[in-house]
Symmetry: C3
């Protein structure tokens, strides 16, 4: 016979519990250092020269190098002899890299050990050892590495569809190493909840009202999850507390087009025809292995959350505008003078701040977290990219 | 049939063994991050404003905040949603704190979730989640937090009795984060052995002789352990080595009052009547959860060893003089120009140096360590403060 | 029925495996923090004064101190009372050290506790506790400590034989704390493979050709392993890749004496008679517990790889020339202006760079690694130094 005090104690205890783990999504929980058998953008193509570039991807040390014919190559960055990093070595013979310690020399194309300088031409080690080679592609000014041991499928299959054969376009972006697990960055990117609240103070939004809250649902089309807004509330009256709004007299409300809006906060007289032609069901979309796409009326913003290791993520963010001629030039100017520091710096830095401070699981999810839950479910498969013929 | 050499070897082996652990005091060994259900001073009251103050106590992250009516509040510094620190957030509505990430808003008084800004007024999370709230009191210019989940007893019950309703007094002190476990600081504070030897070089004692050694015993009165001096030796002749003394021609020996001395190193013509009226059985006393009291003829010095985590301690040290009028002013002057750097700086810094260098257990205890042993026994209980009605 | 593709896959998998561990040499694997019951040089003798010198050796904290009669002493650097380092203490009585915390006073000669200042002359602890004392010898300007608990054998038995009663000599050297396990430094020092390749760019070799590769074998004479060169190749043509050589028009090939060469890279008209009289079977030799000897025509270079802990090594390198009078003076000049930075700095720094970057085991060994394998076998014993009467 429990009295009301002890019932209230139990209720209170339930309220203050820290939350739940990720047990409902075991494949998600297991993916701490990333997903195998996917293409990942790791660096700007123009940054790769003849000098080896060490890159950590999915917890593994890689070394990228531009071969003398200009082809980019990637090898496991560890000589099998004594474990020294090949990226400390030199290219003595075309198409190879030699370890700095004893001159073990690997073919860049396939990682095969083709010579051991300090063991003479008759060394018995040749063709009996190798380091793993990773397929590399150059697209959109980026270097893409296929991480895994399976036969790679074409990069085109994984690129956002509108970027496979785009019309003339301009592009600007930023690559940055960040603290925090890649899954938390992906959750942050697709999260409806924080956008309006955390980013209300960003310079990027200084002239524009952000809603106080909204109702959304998630739809899956092909391999993409779309976050779709059902209703938007510019202010709210919280019982017993008061009113909250981000509206200010100097802030502009976005131009809402009838039917469906492209961009829940921006506004434009005319949407870009190529973007409009994509018929995106929603403003924000997310796909494996951690690609976020935000469609604005006149450009699209992409974020790739590339796993470095369990607690670091390579942020690869870029914006693409599908125009040519003078518009292109103006876009570059606008990118370099504005977007780069306001959006890829200040705005995106707020996300970095929160992800680095996130301490989940355990966690308690709420209504807008439907976006997170649908994303986590993707990990259980099917994985159409990998499984398609 | 062991020969004398092997006997001597075994004896030598026994001598060089590192020592013993803390197995005889299992409750003591278990208290590495502190004792639950006690009040702890954590900060100066005047340091707490409207801005959240993060404080770690007994291994747990807390956030202190002064409510708009001036009341100090303490919450667990972790939003239950995604684990972000509430101390990074803002106070939008009176009596609440909002998480910076999604605007989850908690009532400061009891930690209840009362609004979720990004989920609208009808959010189902409200009143279904909470963070733990911790009782806070302001006394003696300090903020005291009750750490634990039990119903708090009044702070008065735990304060040194003479501070519950003191006459007019002046007070000066220092709060400092230090390296080392809180139990080692408490042992150091109450330790008879080191005082005369380690501190002989402190500026605080530069004009005063410290004894070479003395004989003590420990008495328990109520919840306090008292260290009582039985005999004092100003010098000693160590057989085969020579004489050792701290006496120098310029150093003064303390004024010993007949019967019982207040202060084993200081001297005074006249003891303060309020201090004398306490009838302390000894100069130094110690109580749970780590409170040291050193009664000088004209003031009392207190040290609280507040656990931060297993290897850090918040040192809260202050001196209280029970006088009024001009004497009070003189005390403040003397505190600021002398005591603060000599005693709470240089002298107490020697203790910090030793505790940070202590590597025990294992250990070998000696005669003066009776003080440590009695202190460790306290942990087995009874715990009168917690158990009283 | 495996098709050729899958066979090739399996072969490739075998090639890219990381390599093997050190299971074939269990005593070697167990010696991560060093070998017990050996003498180790730890510091320059002239660096030891009356002030205690803390030194970590084989994972253990020691304290060295020069007694008032000039004798060097070593004790375990940990007071048995509360674990404070004795090296923080002072010498109050001749032949002793007192802990700074409570004045526990140990005899330097044997570590016996002979007084406890804060417990008076009748302290019961005296002669009932001790810290371990370690034998110390001064030779060749170095302090040698016998690490272990066995009865020490004479240092002479372990010194390179030619240094036990050398004729007049000059000596210059360097002691440095380095990152990396001591076993990897020993393997590096005796390794034939890297010498010609890694060090080709060192200033020490700037005027001299290094071979491209050579054939060697290892011989054991007494407790020394000798690396003996069978054939030397100044250049090599690697099939499908091209030629590789270190020859340049400005570089000099070494002077090869008929029969046996002293020094595989240096050259001299006349070998030093004392060195020649040693009849070293090879240029490079290695002995337990990690002593490398490189015999040049006119001087001998020694390296001791002294274990600090699992991941740090004290490099003790010195060169000895067996001459007197003016030649000696010239050697000192040559050491200070040339050898010191070129050899003990730049050249030896290349080794440090590689050892700090070695990530083995796992590993794949090749022909020149016979030197490593023979070295590792030594650890299984017998250990003639320790076992001799």
């Amino acid at each position: 016979m429990a009295d009301s005090a002890s019932i209230s104690d139990r209720q209170q205890a339930k309220k203050v519990r820290l939350g739940r783990g990720w047990e409902p999504w075991p494949e998600y929980e297991a993916a701490a250092t990333g997903l195998m058998d996917y293409w990942y953008p790791v660096a700007w193509a123009r940054a790769l020269k003849k000098k080896p570039l060490p890159v950590k991807l999915c917890g593994r040390d890689l070394m990228l190098l531009r071969d003398e014919d200009g082809t980019a190559r990637a090898l496991h960055d560890r000589c099998v002899h004594r474990g020294v990093k090949l990226s400390l070595g030199k290219q003595w013979f075309p198409g190879t890299i030699s370890c700095p310690y004893h001159g073990w020399t690997y073919r860049l194309r396939d990682g095969e050990l083709v010579a051991v300088i300090t063991d003479g031409p008759d060394s018995r080690m040749c063709n009996r050892a190798a380091v793993q080679a990773y397929p590399v592609e150059e697209r959109l000014g980026l270097l893409w590495v296929f991480m895994g041991e399976a036969e790679p499928y074409p990069l085109n299959r994984q690129l956002p569809e509108e970027l496979v054969q785009p019309p003339a376009f301009a592009m600007g972006g930023r690559i940055e190493e960040r603290s925090g697990n890649w899954r938390l960055f992906a959750e942050n990117g697709f999260d409806e909840g924080h956008a309006k609240y955390l980013h209300r103070t960003s310079i990027w939004r200084i002239m524009k009202v952000m809603p106080t809250w909204n109702l959304i649902h998630i739809e899956k089309h092909g391999r993409w999850l779309y976050r779709i807004e059902d209703e938007r509330f510019w202010e709210a009256e919280f019982p017993g507390l008061g009113k909250w709004t981000n509206s200010r007299w100097w802030k502009i409300k976005p131009h809402i087009k009838q039917g469906r809006s492209l961009g829940n906060t921006g506004g434009a007289r005319r949407n870009n025809p190529y973007i409009e032609a994509q018929n995106f069901p929603g403003f924000a979309s997310l796909a494996l292995p951690g690609i976020l796409r935000i469609a604005y009326p006149n450009f699209i913003h992409y974020e790739f959350y590339v796993p470095i290791d369990e607690s670091h993520t390579r942020y690869v963010g870029f914006m693409v505008q599908f125009k040519k001629g003078l518009s292109r030039l103006i876009f570059y100017l606008w990118y370099l003078t504005g977007i780069r520091w306001m959006f890829h710096g200040n705005f995106s830095g707020q996300d970095h701040w929160m992800v680095a401070n996130t301490d989940a699981p355990p966690e308690r999810l709420y209504r807008p977290d439907e976006s997170l839950i649908e994303w986590r479910k993707l990990f259980a498969g099917p994985h159409p990219l990998r499984e398609k013929p």
